[in-house]
Amino acid sequence: MKEETGTIVENHHIQNEYYLIKMRADHVSKQGKPGNFIMVSASSTLEPLLKRPFGIFDLNPPYIWIYYKVVGRGTRLLSTLNPDDKISILGPLGNSFPVLENETILAIAGGTGIASVYFAIKEYLKNNKVSLIYGAKSKNDLNFLHSLETISLAGLYLYSDDGSIGIKGVVTADIKKIINQHGITITISCGPDEMLNRIFWIIKDLKTDDYASLEAIMGCGFGICQSCVVETRNKEYKQVCTDGPVFKMEEIQW
C-alpha cells in the first residue's frame, strides 16, 4: 500500500458512459492482486475532495487498467484525463480473492462488477476451470466481449434486461442450473447489492464456497474513517476497505 502518482497512458472511451484507463503505476502494478482496488483522484483542486475507489481491472507491470462508468463528478473528471496527465493513486488496497487450484469456478458479474472479477478470472484460468455469467441492462452496458470470448472460459453466459444481447433477463436467472451443469465448487460475484443479495439466497444451500466483492461509500480506503461498514450476520460491522472488499457470502447480513 502506497501513495503514488500515476501517469495516464490511455483513457479509452469504450462506449456511452464506459471508459478504460491504462495508467503507469510502478508500485501498484507490482503489488496488486486480483480483488484489490485503488483510490484515485483526477482533480488538482479540492473539489471533489475525496478519492474514488475502483477495482483493479487488469495489470501488467508497470501498467494497470481501471474500467469505469461515469456516474458523477469524480468519474466525469476522470473521463477528461488525457495521456501524460498525472493521477494520484493510493493502493493496492483491500484483501483479494482466494488463491485457488484445481477448482471449478463460476464468476458472476453485473455491470461494472466485471471490473473486480476480470483480473481474478484471468488468474484462475491458469490452474482452474472458470465459467462466467455477465449481465447488464443492455448490450450497450456489456463490454470486453471479444476478450471474454477468447480467454478459454469453460462457459460464458450473457444476460441483458432488454434482451439486446444474450439471454433476456437478470444474471441470477439460471445460476443453479449452471452450477450443477459445470459442477461448480467456488463462486465469485461482483455487482449491485441487490444482485448479490439475490445470488446469496439462491445459492446459500448449495455446496459451493461463495465469495462476493462488495462496494461501499468510502472516505479513505485504508481503514481510517470507518465509513465503509457492512453488517455481518453476527450483527457486527466490518470495513469493506480493509476487511474486504472480498467477503465470504455467508458472513454478510443480506
Partner: protein, 303 residues
C-alpha cells in the same frame, strides 16, 4: 536550520503538526506511509468506556470542499484500547494523545481516570462535543457551565495534562474557552466539526440515521480560523487550532492567529502522508520568510 519545535507548557513537541482524532486511526495504519516519529504528536480516535458499534451506514457524505460524517464513534472500549496503546507505544516515541468521550459526565471521568494511570499516554484530549444523554443530546461544549463542571471534575481526578476540545456550534466561543481554562484545562483545542445535514431527495429522508452530522474539511477553514483567533485572544493556556488544514500555509495562518500547535484532520483520509508534506511546507515557508522559530510568529497577527 529552522526550529519547528513548539512548547505546550506541559510538554514540548518537535513540531506543531498533530493528526486529529478520528482521522488517524491508532497511528499504526500510517506506518506504511511514514515514520510516526516525524510527527509532533498524534491523537487516537475517540474512546468511550464500552465497546460501541457506531451508526448504520451511510456514515459520510462529500459536500462542496467538505465532508459530513456521522460515524457515531465506534470503538473497542477502553480496556481493549489499553492493549492497542501499549502496542503502538512500541513503534514510536511521539506523544500519544487519547481522545476521551462520554455520554455522561461520569463516563468521561471513568475513561479519563482509566487512561490517567498509563505512562504510555502523554496527554488526554477531552472531546466535550459528544451528545450528552442527560442534556437532551446537547453536548457539554455548548454550555459554559457544563463545560466548567465537567473539566473541573476531571482535573481534580487526573494528573495527565488535559486538552479540552471545543465545538464550534456556539454563539460565544470565548465564554466556553474561558470556562474550560478556569476549570483547569491545560490547553484548548478547536474546532470539532460543524453541525450540518444532508437529505436524500429521492427517498425524502435525511441521509444519516442521526439526521445531523459533522462538517469538516477545507470548507470550514475560514470559520475555524476565526474561532481559533477569538479563543487565543482570551485564554492564557496554549491553543491547538484545527479545521480544514491542508497546507503548511494554513498551519502558519493558524499560528499567526494564536495557535501554538495544529491538528490535521480530513486531509489525512485523502492523502495519508499529508502531515509530513505539511511539516515540510512549514519549514519551506519559514526559510523563505527568514523565520528561525515559530515563537516569532505565534499570535503576531497585526490587528
Amino acid at each position: 536550520m529552522v526550529d519547528l519545535s513548539v512548547d505546550l507548557g506541559f510538554i514540548g513537541l518537535k513540531n506543531p503538526v498533530i493528526p486529529a482524532s478520528g482521522t488517524f486511526g491508532y497511528g499504526e495504519e500510517f506506518l506504511p506511509f511514514f515514520n510516526l516519529d516525524l510527527l509532533g504528536a498524534f491523537v487516537f480516535k475517540g474512546i468511550y468506556k464500552n465497546k460501541r458499534m457506531g451508526n448504520p451506514p451511510p456514515r459520510i457524505q462529500e459536500t462542496p470542499a467538505g465532508l459530513l460524517n456521522s460515524i457515531g464513534l465506534p470503538g473497542p472500549g477502553m480496556k481493549e484500547l489499553k492493549k492497542i496503546i501499549k502496542r503502538v507505544y512500541q513503534s514510536t516515541s511521539t506523544p500519544i494523545i487519547i481522545n476521551v468521550c462520554g455520554e455522561t459526565d461520569q463516563e468521561y471521568l471513568d475513561v479519563a481516570e482509566y487512561f490517567d494511570r498509563m505512562e504510555e499516554v502523554a496527554i488526554l484530549e477531552l472531546n466535550i462535543s459528544c451528545p450528552n444523554v442527560k442534556s437532551g443530546g446537547r453536548c457539554p461544549a455548548q454550555d459554559d457551565k457544563h463545560t466548567y463542571r465537567l473539566v473541573k471534575q476531571i482535573k481534580q481526578s487526573v494528573s495527565t495534562p488535559l486538552i479540552v476540545k471545543l465545538s464550534p456550534n456556539v454563539t460565544d466561543i470565548s465564554a466556553i474557552a474561558i470556562s474550560a481554562e478556569e476549570a483547569g484545562a491545560d490547553c484548548i483545542s478547536l474546532t470539532n466539526t460543524f453541525l450540518g445535514m444532508a437529505i436524500d431527495l429521492e427517498s425524502r429522508k435525511p441521509l444519516f440515521s442521526k439526521i445531523v452530522a459533522g462538517l469538516s474539511g477545507p470548507a470550514i477553514k475560514p470559520l475555524a480560523l476565526r474561532l481559533v483567533w477569538e479563543v487565543a485572544r482570551c485564554v492564557h493556556v496554549p491553543v491547538i487550532g484545527m479545521g480544514g488544514i491542508t497546507t503548511g500555509q494554513d498551519v502558519l495562518e493558524f499560528i499567526l492567529a494564536g495557535a501554538t500547535a495544529v491538528q490535521t484532520g480530513t486531509i489525512n483520509l485523502i492523502e495519508p502522508s499529508a502531515s509530513i508534506r505539511i511539516i515540510k511546507e512549514i519549514e519551506q515557508i519559514m526559510k523563505e520568510q527568514n523565520l528561525m522559530n515559530l515563537r516569532e510568529l505565534r499570535g503576531t497577527l497585526k490587528t
